[in-house]
Point group: C2
Chain length 367, copies 2
């Protein structure tokens, strides 16, 4: 078991722990109790009701924290204003008050939705996360970003709302569908590329153990990823200094593929994987890195079962359409996309002013 | 013109000004420009479109801050999740981004709704207030509380979101219906009672000028009220230390009368006025204050045109029903209402454990 403390300079005295390891769900109630919870509400992915939902409720009950459970239908459609409105009403009818602790059990959709509802019900309730997917454990549950989608775009409504604690129990990953587990590994490779060459190398060495979901290997994957993300979040909690931008490596290209393919056809991690492959090619074209770094990253991604080319999509989206989506991204500066590009393995920089014709050339690559 | 700086210790380096006086709307654009705004969106009470809405838009245009205007139907029904959802969608379709400054023009409903939408669109946009009612100028626009109602209760969904600046232009009060202006004076008397005996005395001396809406008198009313509220908010931004509870003087009784009468039959300030009269009676019954303080407060409230007895409601609500509403209030402790009660003019204390039979006796008073 590893404990990573996240310290937030902007909120006086506020820090919290992300606990990574096995057998953690049983201890959730004890932690809530230590934090003074007298009552809880567990918001759970409906597909996990009988497993992790039930286990969380029992853990709270055993620690003398009575609670109710509310279910959220699985899938991205639950990350909506309508789903938030249903939870707000359910909270009100259940008598949730400012002393009630909210626990999210599920993947990124449930965590982001529940965090937003916790941030806004009675102007903010204490909030805990039990992420049950790899991508939620290594990415969305750490950093305090919560929110829902609008029809006009993803994550357009939300709040920064930090949890009191996160329990990344790798046991919950054992039953994940392989494609979903693999998709989460894209963000893991990203942390190696942007911050930690040693971790990248470790992933190359232990790819087979990771894919076999060896508990010790998966615990290391989650722990190191959370440590790296926590350092970035601490440096730039509200995305103001620019440090947090590094986390978008692979995402400028990735979001475009995701949007053009139609949300749901590519998993987020698959799109990020293709996006990282393209970003590395762009860095090479700009003379920032030699070709062998592109190749090494491609090789690791493919060994982990991730796509590195948009040819998995048929028909393959056209460069002009992709570029248009990229220039509409909310992180553009004056309509020109910004790219996070590698300098070497373990280091990236924010690059403005990349000529459109070069971006189009990368988007048109056939492999 | 008076400028009151509100300093928020919890948010590093964040402070903002509340400007009180006449002729302020014309300067709004200049302030936004100084704060770096390159684009604005004005959210305005539809009833004020042609007056203060138009003036605000022109002020921004004159300062080279292009903006759109969005209208909110007047009335409490606009303080809803549905109205927030309409604004979120409108922001998205209008291309509002993180550099867009949001300006609320209207009373408490528009300010609370717009503040909540600004707090949550893209996880937070810069926000300004142009309050156009007395109650919004002296109360709701200062303090950072934003939010909307649910069917189950008022203000159940919201966020703490501080503005970059507030322009309390007393010129906008000249056209307020008399009943609405008078209702706002209840919160003004409250500030005197809870914090400032000298201000209470000033209100007694200048009641006629205030009622005649003499600009200098009204400017003093707004300025002193904002100063007093700002000190409380600075001491307890997120309602955690207890200092902010003093602002609820008159509100425990008041909310009950408001709810039992049916929202809309009593204006908020009218309910608070009756609530303060009852709270003073309760303080007297508990031996905390002599009767002459009760009388002096009643006399000032009535001179300002405010009710001090629920007999304005026919039928007068029954004590048992009122008590039940009070015990459901979100500020109860273990189901027992807490009362903010005066010790003298200018000072209040938070009182727990008041016996129910005593509360019922006060609720049953015939005058």
């Amino acid at each position: 078991m590893a404990v990573i403390r996240v310290t937030l300079p902007s909120v006086a005295g506020r820090s919290y722990d992300v606990v990574c390891g096995t057998g953690l769900v049983d201890g959730v109630g004890r932690h809530l109790r230590s934090a003074g919870a007298r009552r809880g509400v567990v918001v759970c992915d409906a597909a996990l009701e009988a497993t992790h939902g039930r286990a969380t409720v029992e853990s709270l009950a055993a620690a003398d924290v009575p609670c109710s459970m509310m279910l959220v239908p699985p899938g991205e459609a639950s990350k909506s204003v309508a789903a938030a409105a249903r939870l707000w009403d359910a909270f009100a009818h259940d008598g949730v008050d400012r002393t009630t602790h909210v626990v999210a059990v599920g993947g990124g959709v449930v965590g982001d939705l529940t965090g937003f509802v916790a941030a806004t019900f009675m102007r903010g309730l204490p909030f805990w996360q039990v992420p049950t997917t790899l991508v939620a454990q290594v990415d969305s549950s750490v950093g305090g970003k919560t929110g829902v989608n609008l029809e006009a775009g993803k994550n357009l409504v939300g709040a920064f709302w930090q949890p009191l604690g996160v329990f990344a129990d790798v046991d919950t990953l054992a039953s994940l569908p392989r494609r979903e587990f693999v998709s989460g590994l894209a963000e893991v490779v990203k942390y190696g590329m942007i911050l930690d060459a040693g971790f990248f190398q470790w992933l190359e060495d232990r790819a087979d153990d990771v894919l076999a979901r060896d508990p010790a290997a998966v615990t290391h994957v989650v722990t190191r990823s959370v440590e790296l993300k926590a350092r970035v979040v601490e440096a730039d909690e509200r995305e103001t200094s620019g440090a947090r931008a590094a986390l978008n490596y692979g995402h400028t290209f990735g979001h475009a593929y995701e949007a053009v393919a139609g949300y749901g056809r590519l998993l987020h991690g698959e799109a990020v994987s293709i996006g990282m492959a393209r970003a590395a090619r762009l860095a090479e074209a700009l003379g920032r890195i030699p070709e062998d770094i592109v190749t090494r990253q491609d090789r690791l991604l493919r060994r982990l079962g991730l796509p590195t080319s948009p040819t998995v999509l048929q028909p393959t989206p056209g460069p002009a359409e992709l570029l248009e989506v990229m220039t509409r991204d909310k992180k553009t500066v004056g309509g020109v996309p910004r790219f996070v590009l590698p300098d070497r393995i373990g280091s990236v920089a924010l690059v403005d002013g990349v000529p459109s014709h070069l971006v189009l050339r990368i988007l048109a690559l056939a492999e």
